[in-house]
């Protein structure tokens, strides 16, 4: 309770410094938030593309319906497989016409082969697994050819790995910079209170007692900065979403984690500056 009061008094005595601290946290987290927004949207877009990863096995003309039905049941039982669809020659033609739009009349009837379209389960669509499924399906005698966009699947996965890696790397860099900046602003308030801290030490205050108000201060500034950053990020999101691109925003869980990250950054920043100060007095 006393620590809360001390933290409040300290902030009130240095309103400019406190505001500056909050704004710094807000901007660091805003930069982080903007990046995270880009990452979230790349991931969202990739997920849409990924849905379309499928193995298509072309079936020879004249294969009996029985043979196809048996094969479909077999394939559906593979652990990686979510669903198997049979697309007849007519179905293939119709789909091609739909995909080609205005050029739909270039297709004559029954030029396209029938196929089995095999959809894989989410999370099991990496290049290795896709290839394994394709190879197993190829072993059916009635399968003429098989397509699964080898290169395309591999590229997709590389892109995702790069996006995730860059996201993590930049995210950590932003967090580190935020901790340093917040550490510096709290360091200024530690120095502003150096005399008070030295008197506290003389009358027998423990390090924990001296540290507590600064930690509360950092925590509150982190939360407020986090909320401010959320508001700024949301404004940025709305602006782009309305004028340029359809975007997705963070889900609530991510928002809570983001604000808690702000609090953590505030606490870590103040901890480092108070620690380094206390070690010297």
């Amino acid at each position: 309770m006393l620590s809360v009061r001390e933290a409040w008094n300290a902030s009130r005595r240095a309103p400019l410094l406190s505001t500056l601290g909050v704004i710094t946290i807000a901007f660091s987290l805003f930069a982080f938030g903007l990046f995270a927004l880009v990452a979230v949207n790349i991931r969202h877009a990739l997920r849409g593309v990924e849905e379309r990863v499928e193995v298509r096995a072309f079936v020879s003309d004249g294969t009996s319906a029985d043979a196809i039905a048996t094969a479909m049941a077999d394939i559906a039982a593979f652990p990686e497989v979510a669903r198997v669809d049979y697309v007849s020659q007519e179905g293939a033609l119709e789909r091609a016409r739909k995909d080609m739009g205005e050029f739909s009349d270039v297709f004559e009837e029954a030029v396209l082969p029938a196929s089995l379209d095999i959809h894989l389960k989410a999370g099991l669509r990496d290049p290795g697994r896709v290839k394994a499924v394709a190879d197993r399906v190829r072993s059916y005698q009635f399968v003429d050819d098989i397509r699964y966009g080898e290169e395309w699947v591999e590229k997709l996965y590389q892109l995702r790995a790069v996006a995730a890696g860059t996201g993590l790397g930049l995210g950590l860099a932003f967090a580190a910079v935020s901790i340093i900046i917040i550490g510096a602003t709290i360091r200024v308030s530690v120095l502003a209170r150096a005399r008070e801290i030295s008197i506290m030490r003389l009358v027998g205050a423990t390090d924990g007692f001296i540290r507590a108000p600064f930690l509360i201060d950092g925590f509150v500034k982190g939360i407020v900065g986090g909320l401010l950053a959320l508001l700024l990020t949301w404004i940025a999101y709305r602006t782009v979403d309305e004028r340029f691109l359809d975007l997705v925003f963070f889900d609530p869980r991510f928002i809570v984690i983001g604000i808690l990250a702000g609090a953590l950054i505030g606490v870590l920043g103040s901890l480092t500056s108070v620690w380094s100060h206390l070690r010297r007095v």
Partner: protein
């Protein structure tokens, strides 16, 4: 009980603050630390409240060994030491009573007990009527009384005072010194560093330890007979010169 045994403090190799310092202080004693500026008085007090650690030798204060004490033990010890400085070290943005209460708040004392004890010590130092004044509204002597009240509020075993009258006029000096004597009479040991020899002469029942160049050059405890009693006048012993009579050779030179 305070015990220093063969203590040396070196800040750098060329800057030796103390060497071969050995003495003890029992509960209830009143001890003056005298000597010229830079003789090591402040360093001894810093060793006692453990702001500094000895470079050599041992320092014990109320059972806490300075050489090995952890930060937490030092905090606990300081609650049982009252410390008073020449420059008062009050928090300028708090009233007199808030300054005194501060020393209790950091120990986690219950709120009800705090106001009661703050009132008691402010009355004891004669400032009950100025409890709500800010330090800048008080005279120097009054500010030092607030600092003494803050030092007393935890019922310390020892009161350490570093030139407590150094910034005060003669009248305030007398008042503050009288207060320290009363505190001592009530059972608290007082160790006071000063170069105001006028005060030292008046308190002829107090023990006097004189330092010079970081060494103890005189301790009145070692000179019991009244007629050979040293009258402190820095660098000018009343009886004989440094090589005669009661003037002990600096410990390091006897070997």
């Amino acid at each position: 009980m305070i015990r220093l045994h063969d203590v040396a403090k070196e800040y750098t190799q060329s800057r030796v603050a103390l060497s071969h310092v050995t003495f003890q202080v029992k509960r209830g004693e009143f001890v003056f630390l005298i000597g010229p500026s830079g003789s090591g008085k402040t360093t001894i007090l810093k060793l006692l409240y453990m702001e500094e650690k000895p470079t050599h030798g041992d320092v014990w204060v109320s059972g806490v060994h300075a050489n090995t004490a952890r930060r937490k033990e030092i905090s606990q010890l300081r609650r049982k030491l009252g410390i008073v400085f020449q420059d008062f070290r009050l928090l300028e943005d708090r009233t007199a009573e808030q300054n005194v209460a501060f020393a209790l708040e950091v120990t986690g004392a219950p709120k009800a007990a705090i106001s009661q004890r703050v009132n008691r010590v402010l009355t004891q130092v004669g400032l009950a009527s100025k409890a709500t004044q800010m330090p800048r509204q008080l005279s120097g002597g009054e500010q030092q009384r607030v600092a003494i009240a803050r030092a007393l509020v935890n019922d310390p075993y020892f009161l350490l005072a570093d030139e407590p009258t150094g910034n005060l006029d003669e009248r305030a000096t007398r008042g503050v010194f009288q207060l320290l004597r009363e505190i001592n009479a009530a059972g608290t040991s007082v160790i006071m560093a000063t170069h105001d020899l006028e005060i030292v002469r008046k308190a002829d029942d107090a023990r006097t330890i004189e330092l010079n160049h970081g060494r103890v050059v005189f301790d009145s405890m070692d000179t019991p007979a009244p007629e050979t009693r040293y009258t402190p006048l820095i660098g000018q012993p009343a009886l004989g010169g440094p090589n005669e009579g009661n003037w002990p050779a600096p410990p390091g030179n006897t070997k």
